[in-house]
Symmetry: C2
Subunit: 272 residues, 2 copies
């Protein structure tokens, strides 16, 4: 049971914290010997770190693919290319294994099943880099856009920002997961329409610290004006993202990757 | 009584809100017919908007110089150049007027007295663009770095981030206002040392909305987990920045601009 999730976004958008929160375990660079004061790399690096985790009683090999350096330079032209290249290399690896006469019973799957794209909570709109990245990459991988550090915004700012982001994604023809064109039936479409038009992009807050609130221990961020509870739906949509990616849509994320994205790559390669 | 303040930083760091909060009056683009959904310009623009305001019983012509487009492109190479050019053009204007035999009794002063540089509250360190901008511009204008949207951080994160930013500024030889080399006497040095090593960069929050807290009307941001009070020193350092720029150091900002930055420009020009 392999699941490969990539995180993309400028440094400081809470990506490693969110990954830790999602998998309630030390699976991001904050947990390893990487210190938070690590220098921003001069070019985009791709770092895949595998972990064995247990989710709902099932053992899962989870690989988190980090992309430090993305969007952090003064000149970020084409900084998505190393990422697109990595994704295609995994399709190539799988293809080579698949066409092998003596292929393994179960091909190790390193393909990226899900790419979380972190949007900075500016309160205005998407940045040129956000649009460029998602335009290019939504064609080769499942992109799930999230609004990072959503506690930066009031409820009103969040709702306005979300609407504006959704509109911009649409105007720019960016199909994020779950893509409209892959809705299988009316029931699928109804459920996904609601997710696409109301919940997404999920406005998330992450934390690996626990506090006592109303007698319960909760994950949160403690500020002088109150405690932000990560799993409280009145505070942010972390719980919606977590259930979406790890529970309800995990299998579908893998299927769309295999049946659509990989298939597109394979068809193109076999035609060359 | 002219005071010219420039604001620089990526879109969405709360610059116009902060300017409004600083001058408790509608002096930024949010107040004019600029809508918040205005497109990010493709290059850096310089927009100077003058206002007459009253501060402490004194009428002041305040000009806010906005720099939309800075740091917002995919490629931000040399995006500080239009800003440096604008600053030098104001020195040039003043110089031309000064050397004029028939010069006015009071030369209109459009020189930038203070440049607020907004640092994104990433929690890690300064970005390459922050360092480049401040390295270049601290040589020609008074730079006051501020940590934007400081409510994004917990007290602990804020204190660590501040320390790291201060250290990076020092390591990179960036002299922000009040510059060590211009401390006039021991009393000056003692007061400014405290400001440089403990208070700055000021971690600020801005707001033009009012709420009732403990029977008092306060400027703040209302979130589901509490109200962030802009003028509460336990919440952020907005009040320190405001007093610093508008009350205690306003005159000195103008003097350093005239006696140091302008003088340096003038000497270079008259030597050519
Ligand atoms: N306000 C806020 N800060 C966060 C959140 N998640 C993480 N942070 C803080 O933001 C800083 C950077 O987080 P990190 O996970 O290292 O970001 P990354 O560079 O994108 O991996 C740290 O100080 C975190 O504690 C969040 O949801 N909201
Ligand atoms: N969290 C937080 N949000 C702020 C703050 N100041 C402004 N904002 C919000 O950030 C968004 C952008 O603010 P704006 O002043 O237009 O930023 P500018 O693009 O830098 O001029 C708006 O939704 C503001 O309400 C602040 O101090 N903290």
């Amino acid at each position: 049971f392999d699941f490969n999730i990539m995180v993309v976004g400028q440094s400081g958008l809470g990506k490693s914290t969110l990954v830790n929160t999602l998998f309630k375990s030390q699976v991001s660079r904050k947990a390893s010997s990487w210190s938070r004061e690590e220098k921003i790399p001069k070019t985009v690096e791709i770092k895949a770190i595998g972990h064995v985790i247990e989710e709902g009683g099932v053992k899962m090999k989870l690989t988190v693919i980090d992309t430090p350096g993305f969007g952090d330079q003064i000149n970020n032209e084409n900084c998505w290319e190393p990422i697109e290249k990595y994704i295609n290399e995994q399709y190539e690896k799988f293809l080579k294994e698949e066409v092998n006469i003596a292929r393994k019973k179960r091909i190790p799957d390193t393909r990226v099943h899900c790419c979380l794209y972190f949007i900075s909570p500016t309160g205005h709109s998407l940045r040129p880099l956000d649009l460029e990245f998602m335009k290019h990459l939504s064609k080769v991988v499942n992109i799930i856009p999230v609004i990072a550090k959503a506690d930066t915004m009031t409820l009103e700012e969040k709702s306005e920002f979300k609407q504006r982001v959704r509109k911009e994604l649409e105007v720019n023809g960016i199909e994020f997961y779950p893509q409209k064109e892959f809705d299988e039936d009316l029931e699928d479409k109804t459920e996904n329409d609601k997710i696409r038009q109301e919940s997404m992009p999920f406005a998330v807050v992450g934390s690996d610290k626990e506090y006592q609130v109303n007698g319960k221990r909760v994950l949160g961020r403690k500020t002088p004006w109150g405690i932000i509870e990560v799993e409280n739906l009145n505070h942010c949509e972390f719980a919606l993202l977590r259930d979406f990616v790890i529970r309800t849509h995990l299998q579908d994320l893998k299927e769309v990757t295999h049946n659509i994205h990989y298939e597109t790559y394979r068809a193109k390669r076999l035609n060359d």
